[in-house]
Structure formats: C-alpha cells, structure tokens
C-alpha cells in the first residue's frame, strides 16, 4: 500500500508538489503547537488534581489540524474523546474542552453555529451519528460534509462496519478519518486485525480511500483536501498512520505494553518537529514566531481556566433539567427536592 508522504523525517520535501500558501503553512504549525501546549497543560492539571481524566492528543496533531483546516464552518464533526485539537479548530471553545475533562456536565455543548457533536466515549458510536448527519444533509440538499474521527481499535466494532456500509450504500458526504495510533489502550494493531493496513477495510465497501503519513501535516492536508472534495459524491475513508506519544489516558501506564525503543523511534517522527524543520528551511520559522504562539496559547489557556474557575459546574438539578425538554412529574419532584422547594 502506497502511503502519501510529503516530508521525510527531517522535514525535507519529497518530490515535486504544489505547496499551500505560506500563511497556511505557518497556520498548520501554529495550530499543532497550540494543540500540543493545551494538551500538555491539561495533562499537568490532571496530575495536580484539577482535572478528572484526560486523553492526551500529543503526537496526533497533524491529521487533526489538517482535517479541521479543510472544513467549512457549516460542516459537521463527530469526534471521539481524543480529538480536541480538531474540535477546537472547528470552533469548540477551549473552555468546553477543559470543562469536559474536569468532569463538568456542560462541557459537551458546542455553541450555536459550531457543528461539533459532544465527546463520544462509546467506541465507534459517533461514526453512525456522522452517517445520520450526512444523510440529513443529503436529504435536505445542503452541501455540508461530515467528518468523523476514530481509532484503530474502533475498526473492530460492529458500529464501524454498519457505519461504513450505510455510508457506501447511500453514497453519503462523509469522511471517515481513522487515526491509526498503533494501539487501542494496550492492544497493538496486529492483534486488532489480520491486515497490514486499515484501508483494506474501505475496499470491502467499494469506498474511496486515502492512506497517509499521519505525522506529516502537509501530506495530511493534501489527502484531506482530496477526501473533502470527493466526499461530495460519496464517503471517503482515510487512514492516518500516527502514534500517541503519551499514555492512553492519565490512568494508563504504557510501560506495561510498549517498548521504550518504539516510543523513541516515534518521537523522531513527531509531526511538530518535522514541520518546524521544514518551515525553518523555508525561512518561515524563528524563535520569535515560536514564542508568539506560545504566549498566545498560554494566555488563552489562562483565560479559559480563569473563566472556568469563576463559573461553577452545573448542579445535579441543572443536569436533571437537561434530560428531557420538559422534566416529567417524577423528575420534576426530584429537581424540586434538590432546589429545596419540594
């Protein structure tokens, strides 16, 4: 299987390609860096007891940034729990992400106009929602496309199969982005499936597909643009080969199942390092640029955290009010009890 690659591990361009604008190139890097910083910060906050549980994105920024950059505002995103870099770039406020991982019950609510579904915990369930959202677009005749993210492990679930089949049968405008980060918690891809690549699966539905170096943001952008365009006429499957540099979540210890040497090899392929080398060679990166991104991201994080610390989490009564449009009698009694007006 040929993998789409634009950069080698040193950040050198492979072959003859038409590059995006310098602005877009630096945006790609800046967004990856911003994602990395937010991720690192949330991880630290969790260790300090200020977050409930965090699923780190570090290492997977390239495909997420590229995916979000090809979308238009009206397009839809159906994420898993490890896609905050993508969802933020599509408009989900950082504040929501942090609130979600702090265990606040309101973190999942995208603002009006931001078409991001709430964080999905159940592996592959969001893929069917993406199918439904895309189906609605097709029925309504609007031109929005839907993108959904999932991991290598998700490919084993029944919902994965049903989603791909429905999308193929109805030729829906949906892009399935599989972030193959080599592991489902401790389970390596070779125990998850009997094939060398995941795109093999797409062929079984007669679906267009792309196979890309998920740590090469230029290749990811190229592939995602193509996938986005093709998706107008039917589903596209993208396998982005990447690696999660950190643990599965803040509760996980990868030493139980990964060799250190493997982790080091993948650190060499860090999408940020590679893109920075490329930009540097083209004169698009310097220390000042890096500082500027860092300062912006730090400020952004501090602002979000400050805002959150001012806004208490919803109470149980608040949450009970969100189960139905109008709480039925027995629930209203429970709400009244909590609000002290029973």
């Amino acid at each position: 299987m040929d993998m789409t690659k634009w950069l080698d591990e040193q950040g050198n361009l492979l072959g003859d390609v038409t590059l995006p604008s310098d602005e877009l190139l630096t945006t790609m890097y800046a967004e990856m860096k911003r994602g990395r910083m937010i991720d690192t910060k949330m991880f630290k906050m969790q260790r300090q007891g200020r977050m409930a549980l965090v699923a780190p994105v570090s290492g997977q920024e390239a495909i997420q940034v590229a995916s979000a950059l090809v979308l238009n505002k009206e397009d839809w995103m159906a994420p898993s729990y490890r896609d905050s870099v993508a969802t933020m770039l599509h408009g989900m406020p950082l504040e929501n992400i942090i609130r979600y991982f702090k265990g606040y019950s309101d973190g999942g609510g995208a603002p009006e106009g931001v078409n991001v579904l709430p964080v999905q915990i159940i592996i592959a369930a969001q893929m069917l929602h993406a199918v439904g959202v895309a189906f609605a677009s097709k029925i309504k005749g609007d031109s929005a496309r839907t993108i959904t993210f999932f991991g290598d492990g998700a490919t084993s679930q029944g919902d994965f199969h049903e989603a791909l089949n429905f999308a193929a049968v109805y030729k829906l405008p949906v892009v399935f982005v599989c972030q193959n980060n080599q592991y489902a918690i401790s389970t390596p891809v070779r125990k998850q499936m009997n094939t060398d690549t995941i795109v093999e699966r797409a062929k079984a539905y007669n679906m267009a597909y792309e196979y890309v170096d998920g740590n090469d943001v230029l290749a990811c952008y190229d592939v995602m643009k193509r996938a986005y365009d093709k998706a107008q006429n039917g589903p596209v499957f993208v396998e982005a080969v990447t690696y999660r540099l950190g643990p599965h979540t803040t509760s996980d210890d990868p030493k139980k199942y990964r060799e250190q040497i493997e982790e080091e090899q993948w650190q060499q392929k860090d999408p940020l390092v590679r893109m920075r080398a490329f930009l540097t060679a083209r004169g698009l990166w310097d220390e000042a640029f890096e500082r500027a991104i860092e300062e912006r991201a730090s400020a952004e994080i501090e602002e979000a955290v400050a805002k959150i610390e001012e806004t208490p989490p919803p109470t149980l009564a608040d949450m009970l009010e969100k189960v139905y449009a109008t709480p039925p009698t027995l629930i209203q009694e429970q709400i009244d009890g909590l609000r002290g007006n029973a």
Binding site: W76, G109, V133, A136, I139, E162, N165, V323, Y324, L330
Partner: protein
C-alpha cells in the same frame, strides 16, 4: 371519521406526518415492501425513496443513523422490525439517543421516534414477541408509548413525532387488525404521559397497557354484572409514568392489581408497585398483585397462551383482593 384498525390508524398518521418535509422513515423492508405488517404501505410511492428508506439489515445502524439525522434537523421515524431485535441497537438507544440533550448541554437533542411491533399471542418464532419496555424505562431520556386502540395509536404517534425527546412507540401486534374503532381522518394528537381511565370504578384498580386493555374490559364488565366496580386504567405511556392517576385511583379503591405481558421480575409492574407502596401504602387494604408473564424468556408458540396473563389469573387476583377489607 371512519372505522380503522390500529394498522390503518398508524399508516394514516405516518402519511399525515410526512406532509412535513423534515419527517423521514427508515428501517428494514419499510419502503418497497411497506413493512412486514404493511404499516408503512404506500409511503414510499407517495414520498419517494429519499424519505422512505429501506436500510441494510443492521439495527444499530438504523438507530444511530436516525440519531444523527435528528441532530441535523430531521425528525426520523425508525422502525425495528420486531421489538426483540432492539438489543442490537441497545447502545444507540440507551447511551446515545437518550443522552444527546444533556451530553450536549442542550445544544442538540434527538427527537427520533422508534416504532416497533411487540407483544404476545401471534405464534411467532422466539424474540418476536417479547415485551421488554421495562429495560428502557430504567434508562431516563426516552419516553415509551404503548397504545391499545386505533384512536390512541394515531394520536399518540403524531404526538410522538412532534415530541422533542426520543420516543419509543410500541405497537401491539396481536391487536394490529383485530380492534377497530372510529378514528378522525384528520391529524390530531393525544398527550403523551397521560393515562386513560377506561372504566371508572370503586372496589379495585387494574393498571395495564397494550393488548390486555382489550380483554380486561370484558373482565371488568363481568364483575360489574356481579355488582363489583373495578377501575380499569390504560397507562398508554409507560415512561414517564402517570403516577398521579394511579395513586388517585388506589386511594379510592384501596386495592391494586397490575397486569402486563412482560416478564414479572423488574417489569414496569414492579415500579408501579414500588411507587404505590411508597406513596399510598396506607390506602391499601391488601397486597399489590401482579398478573404478568412468567420469569422465563418469552416461550414458543404452543405455550405462549399459558405464559401470558389471562382473565382467569386476573380474576383469581381480584377475587383475593376483594376478600380484604
């Protein structure tokens, strides 16, 4: 106004609902075939294959797709061919549809209707006849509607389609065509969540829903002939429960018998009994009786009539209740 069966009443409701462009129908064999019970007959011909959709054979796919459609502005009506097949879609029903509203902090919701024929008595293979509504009543976020008459079926279905929350709409297949009554030809709604006092009475209360409503009317009449006045309540909606109507009745009659076609243990009868024993125990003069299915999977055709509640079992329970003062 004209006489209609439940199948006809539902079919008419679907035709009327689909006049709204945002209503779509999906499921196995619902389009070309018009459904295995012909409930969706004619809809594809009128509204086209883009809105009346035959799906691949995958229940999780059907419900998950419906959830996604509803988030993006449609009002999908999904059919599960027989209710026993809902287990395949359990996560999409219970962890997805029901939770979209609170999970997205109110930004999205999932106003889907899941229609499914259910229930006992038509000699089907296994898993075609199970009454498993209680499983969903333990999963807040969904409403569960179980009409027992053509009038209610039409009005409640139209209400379900308008409802902003996911609604599980269970159609009693054993009386799909055997019960007929006058049903308005135009669209109307019946309020979800309100029980119906089919027969007012003062000596004992029977709470039930679905097909038993039909044969219990005869039981109640028999008692009436003998001077015993039984109140018969058709819940119509089993989640949320109309507990006020139940409690008011028990306060009056002091005796309660619950009749349902589901397995006894942890059926909705259990919740009704628990609520009454919490809220109205001092009104009761005797035990709370449940006349229900047995504690086994729904059985093969040759023994289903023994498994289901029947007039004689109900009378035994009522007769016992009447001995208490």
């Amino acid at each position: 106004m004209s006489e209609k069966t439940i199948v006809q009443a539902i079919n008419e409701a679907l035709f009327q609902a689909m006049e709204h462009d945002d209503v779509v129908l999906l499921g196995e064999d619902v389009a070309t075939n018009g459904g295995v019970f012909r409930v969706t007959d004619g809809l594809k011909e009128k509204y086209g294959a883009m809105r009346v959709i035959d799906t691949p054979l995958a229940e999780s796919g059907i419900i998950g797709t419906a959830v996604g459609m509803s988030v993006n502005g449609l009002r999908p009506i999904a059919e599960i061919q027989f209710f026993g097949f809902i287990y395949e879609a359990m996560d999409q029903m219970v962890s997805q549809a029901t939770r979209m509203r609170y999970r997205s902090n109110g930004r999205f919701h999932a106003p889907i209707v899941v229609r499914s024929p259910y229930g006992a008595g038509v000699n089907t293979p296994e898993l075609h006849a199970d009454s498993i509504e209680a499983i969903f009543s333990h999963s807040p976020g969904m409403k569960i509607v179980m009409p027992s008459s053509p009038y209610d079926a039409k009005g409640l279905l139209l209400a379900a389609i308008e409802d902003p929350d996911p609604v599980l709409f269970l159609e009693p297949m054993s009386i799909y065509r055997s019960v007929r009554e006058e049903v308005p030809d135009e669209a109307y709604t019946v309020t979800i969540g309100e029980a119906k006092i089919v027969q007012a009475g003062s000596d004992a209360t029977i709470v039930t829903w679905g097909p038993p409503v039909v044969w219990l009317q005869q039981v109640v009449e028999e008692y009436a002939t003998n001077g015993v006045s039984i109140e018969l309540i058709d819940l119509r909606t089993v989640a949320p429960l109309d507990i006020d109507t139940i409690v008011a009745s028990v306060e009056k009659t002091e005796r309660l018998c619950i009749v349902h076609e589901a397995v006894k243990t942890n059926g909705i009868g259990a919740e009704i009994a628990a609520l009454v024993s919490e809220r109205a125990i001092f009104s009761l003069v005797g035990p709370i009786k449940r006349v229900t299915g047995f504690d086994s999977p729904y059985p093969a055709g040759t023994i289903e009539r023994d498994w289901m509640p029947n007039p004689s079992r109900v009378k035994t329970a009522i007769d016992e209740l009447l001995t208490y003062e």
